[in-house]
């Protein structure tokens, strides 16, 4: 008798379905490319993103500058590539905190129910009464502009959405037999919540996380555009679009290319979320 898992069993347990959903592959590919650009921007960017070139101010796209240059003669392509670092970082940092915190709170609230849930419901109502962006902008305005404060502002608001999703799902799961079986086995509430219910309840939150990452990039760009997020001269897509807005008639490339980058990144996260949802569905 062997005490370890036989290799065949282990392989069987963690095998992925043979056909991965197409959106998952597409989204994964886009984000993998983005990740490579974000980690090694200097390898791909032809110029220094902060270097001024007064001989090529607002030069249109050419072989030397495929995306053109901006009003300081900075290469737009290089700036778009370097901005990947900040923008993907925003996608992850702005969402991971709310995801973890909201999930934990939601799981406990969903399990405990009763008065706790009623209080939680009022908090949720209070938060979602404000338009998301307005609330975040207000918080950033109080804390002061910058990326760190932006993460805090998003975290204060965003966890509610995860908590609500998870609480609803845990409420469903806790009525199922296996939850009662766990209680009948004498397991502690913490163990039942986090070991048994949460893994069964987390799928919608993970799918939402992917969508939320796309939204975080848009939000970061919006705040960058308003001057509340990443600060110039750092390259960030929203900041770039804001810089280019005064020159739309004469130098459209300053805003359009960062805009396309935002769209592609958003598409990548959305596809990944869709694919993930499909994958989890087929597993059941």
């Amino acid at each position: 008798m062997t005490l370890a898992l036989p290799p065949s069993a282990r392989r069987r347990a963690f095998r992925l379905p043979r056909k991965l959903p197409a959106p998952l592959l597409g989204g994964g590919f886009i984000l993998l490319c983005g990740l490579i650009l974000a980690v090694f921007p200097s390898l791909f960017a032809p110029y220094d993103p902060l270097a001024f070139d007064y001989n090529a101010l607002m030069a249109p796209p050419s072989w030397a500058h495929p995306f053109g240059t901006d009003n300081f003669g900075r290469d737009v392509l290089s700036r778009v590539i370097h901005a990947t670092t900040i923008d993907l970082q925003m996608a992850v940092f702005a969402t991971i905190g709310p995801f973890v915190f909201g999930t934990a709170i939601g799981a406990v609230v969903g399990y405990v129910g009763g008065t706790t849930e009623a209080i939680f419901g009022r908090i949720v109502d209070a938060v979602i009464t404000f338009p998301f962006l307005v609330l975040v902008i207000a918080i950033v305005a109080v804390l002061g502009p910058g990326l760190g404060n932006m993460y805090i502002a998003v975290g204060v608001v965003d966890w509610v959405f995860y908590a609500r999703l998870i609480a609803a799902e845990v409420k469903v799961q806790k009525r199922l037999d296996y939850a009662d079986a766990g209680r009948a086995m004498g397991y502690s509430p913490a163990r039942i919540i986090f070991r048994h219910l949460l893994p069964n309840a987390i799928t919608p939150a993970m799918v939402y996380l992917m969508t939320d990452m796309a939204l975080a990039i848009l939000l970061g760009s919006s705040l960058g555009y308003l001057g509340l997020g990443a600060q110039p001269p750092a390259a960030e897509w929203g900041v770039q679009i804001a810089d280019g807005k005064n020159f739309m008639a004469t130098a459209w490339w300053m805003s359009v290319f960062p805009g396309i980058a935002i769209v592609i990144a958003g598409l990548g996260f959305s596809l990944l979320g869709d694919g993930l949802a499909e994958l989890m569905r087929t597993k059941r």
Binding site: M1, D177, G182, A184, M185, R191, P199
Partner: protein, 340 residues
Amino acid sequence: MSAAEQMVAAAPALSVRGLSTTFAAANGRRLTAVDNISFDVMPGEVLGLVGESGSGKSITLRSIMRLIHAPGEVTGHVGWQGRDLMALSEREMRKVRGGEIAMIFQEPMTALNPVLPVAVQIEENLRAHTSLDAAGRRKRAIELLDLVGIPAAASRLGDYPHQFSGGMRQRVMIAIGLASNPRLLLADEPTTALDVTIQDQILKLILELRDELAMSVVLVTHDLGVVAATCDRLAVMYAGRIVETGPVGEVFYQPHHPYTRGLLGSVPRSGAERTMLLSIEGTPPGLAAIPPGCAFAPRCGFADAGCTAARPPLEDFSAGHAVACFHHQTVGQQEAVLHG
């Protein structure tokens, strides 16, 4: 056999006294699902808890384990190894659940956690209730899967519940339940969701394990065939009350409650002459409208005015055979349904 001898000698393993479970209804009233029931389970004994759907069998088991959800309230006394389970703290109760008293559920399809491999689920019980180390738990998990008759147990440890068939899942459930050598197994219709052939195997398994591990079993079922094949004693429930209890042979041979008689008469039997199946007229009462007096009176052929005026108490009329019926003498003298 030995179970009967033990019964005479030993004190009851589980002693339920005046157990009631009520649920708060919307209009402020309380609905009574389990109404002041009392019964004993002897060491090594298999007690069958029989009744129609909604008669309170499952609620009784869950009440004993204190697994009733929020609007429900349980009162009474559950004696277990010199303690009253109703008076234990939640922490002490967790040691009893799974460690001393195990419970298995009707639906093996939903009672296992779908996202954890079975080995993890067995080892979890061992981690909660024994002091075995990781290697010891793994070894015991294989032993348990072996014990409940899962072929190639060692190679199936990493499998998820959905990789097992219904019967195999129920075996896994039993393996998890038995992991920490409980002294009492509460089985809530463990075979209802299974094929007849599998059903037989699972019941045999439970009886074997009862002998091997010297535990008592409370088997909830609505299937009298199952009771006849497995139980030493039975308690018949109707509308949350126990209406008759006694040794299986005696109750089957000479039921003293009209409801028991009706239940027995409604089961087709092989070997006997072809006779009409008896059926009990009407339907069981809803929780909100339990009739006054004897709850069975409106459906009962023996009932008279006295039956609706007062509730018949559950009283012994011979050793170990009790019935709650004013007319039990008359009912007992009726032609035996088993030999009709």
